[in-house]
Amino acid sequence: MKRSIAVVLLAVLVGCIGLAAASEPLRIGICKIVEHPALDAVEQGVIDTLTAAGYVEGVDVEYLIASAQGDFGAAISIAQNYQAQGVDLVVAIATPTAQAAIEVFRGTDTPIIYGAVTDPVGAQLVLSATDPSGNENVTGVSDMIPVAAHLQLLKDLSPDIITIGIVYNPGEANSAVLTEMALAAAPSAGVAIVTATADSTANVPLAAQSLVGRVDAFYVTTDNTVVAAIDSVLAASEEAGVPFLMADPTSLAQSTLAAGFDYYEHGLTVGGIVLDVLSGVGTNEIPVTYQPRAEVHLNLDAAARIGLVFPAAVIDQSAAILYGGVVWKRQNP
């Protein structure tokens, strides 16, 4: 009698353990360096991708979301916290967060998927953009912008556009890289670049103003500092009567034309990589993914204000226009 009770109890215990093990949700840490609409959108995109793939929050997966709030020391602590809590995968949004996560999880096999990193090779997250074999436990998506194509786009607007002014913050890694790329691509695009630096949002209007009368077009990349004061750049460009190209379509209303991609879509791409890795693809099999599907959006209202008529060639390659305060999207891709 006692023996049978013991067997039953043991079976129940084993069953409980088995049940607990089976229903142990996947732990995914998602961290970013600072709160920012673009980075927040990437975070949301990742979560939505997993949810759409059938990972129910609380049942199949548990998200440990953290923001370093601009404190680089906290970025390390966040990664260490993830390690202590035994996460199964880390999504690190932005360069410093990714670097901190890689340093903490060095030598382990916990996958680190980065997003919103402009130059993964320059930041030494991976050794090569094309050959993933040396990746170890790291892979991800770059939000590199086709700067050369943007310069060409500006040239297509009018043959009078020879000098392009760039407002940027030299203290932002992504921004510095993109500006360097612009300077390198300028000669072959047949343009000259003039830069104006702003090390904080408060200095952006001054920097933009300094370019008035010296340039034939304004260009701003995905620079967090400048984007926060983008209205002042538009105002400066309109004062100069020249077009302003913004490398982020979500800022179309504050620019003459915008080219780039949506950061929520970027988050979806990152989520896609996460799904691949969760389904068994090794991180050392996935090379750097570059965000595809960059689009051109035109702000006809702003163009009218400076008397600019978009050439047919530019209108043909656009995916959306802002006219009469309303955004019109092209139906057939």
Binding site: A75, S77, I78, A173
Partner: protein, 299 residues
């Protein structure tokens, strides 16, 4: 879980070296020095560039970072004592200058140390029998060594002159001490320590970023004040220990906030709020205890 406490102590002590620097200017010299937000990065910048581009020894770069920080402190000291610019403004001016200088040193806003042999990685490999305690042991030995050297210095004749300059400038001038020299010396030492801390933290984190110094004065002061509240003493040895303790408390607050914040329903964006609340809690407990003791002794 134990791993988290080890990391808290590691970071608490690494940042504690910067807190000792802030202690030297703010408490000893009575000079509120904002240069530290810049000199912290200068140390990180010097260390990173020397490691990545010139393959320097990762322990030697700590010393060179100290020197670089010292130069930054000299600039602030010069602005204040020779050009008559008030202490707060002198520090701010140097900090702003250092932003551009640091960018020049690094050549880019972010320099990765993930592929070089940093001090922490070397120690981790060399002391591998200690396991997860290897880096902690290294940081502890380094920090306590610096603390003891600082304590020793503050008990020398020059050290006393430095302390007296902070306490009563007119009195010590009457004794024949050149307070201008003392201030410059104090600022140089202080920023040297902060830069050393920056170099250590950069190697610990795996990267140097031009923005990583933001808030150094705040966390440094927090450590000094928290420590001063927890250990009340006028003796040098206890004061420097309290500073390190304060830095530890602050880092533990950050880690606790990260680990358990969500339990109370906080979101990721509430990190700084929770950290501050935990620090307030750490300060309130001894304060309440002291008031109770006073009430008891009053009756």
């Amino acid at each position: 879980m134990a791993l988290l406490w080890i990391h808290a102590v590691e970071q608490g002590l690494a940042y504690g070296i910067a807190a000792l620097g802030v202690f030297l200017t703010y408490r000893v010299l009575k000079f509120p020095d904002l240069t530290v937000d810049g000199s912290f990065v200068t140390g990180a910048a010097i260390a990173s560039v020397l490691l990545v581009q010139y393959g320097f020894n990762p322990f030697a770069v700590l010393l060179l970072a100290f020197v670089a920080g010292g130069i930054a402190g000299l600039i602030t000291g010069f602005l204040n004592t020779r050009l008559g610019i008030t202490n707060l403004l002198a520090g701010v001016l140097t900090m702003i200058m250092l932003y551009s200088i640091n960018l020049r040193i690094m050549g880019r806003p972010n320099l990765s140390l993930l592929r070089v042999a940093t001090a922490t990685r070397v120690v981790d490999a060399a002391w591998s029998p200690l396991g997860p305690f290897a880096i902690l042991a290294f940081v502890a030995i380094l920090t306590l060594g610096i603390k003891l050297i600082l304590d020793g210095f503050l008990r020398t004749e020059i050290g006393f002159a430095l302390r007296a300059t902070g306490d009563s400038e007119s009195m010590i001038t009457a004794q024949g001490v050149n307070t201008k020299t003392m201030k410059i010396l104090g600022l140089a030492l202080s920023n040297g320590l902060v830069a050393l801390s920056g170099a250590l933290v950069a190697q610990y984190s795996g990267f140097a970023d031009v923005g990583m110094g933001l808030g150094t004065i705040v966390t440094g002061l927090a450590a000094v004040i928290i420590g001063g509240t927890l250990i009340r003493s006028n003796r040098v040895g206890w004061m420097t220990l309290s500073v390190l303790l304060g830095s530890l408390v602050y880092r533990i607050a950050v880690i606790l906030a990260l680990r358990y914040g969500y339990v109370v329903g906080f979101q990721a964006s509430d990190l700084k709020l929770i950290t501050s609340l935990l620090v307030i809690l750490a300060l309130v407990v001894p304060y309440v205890r002291e008031r109770r003791m006073r009430k008891v002794s009053a009756c």
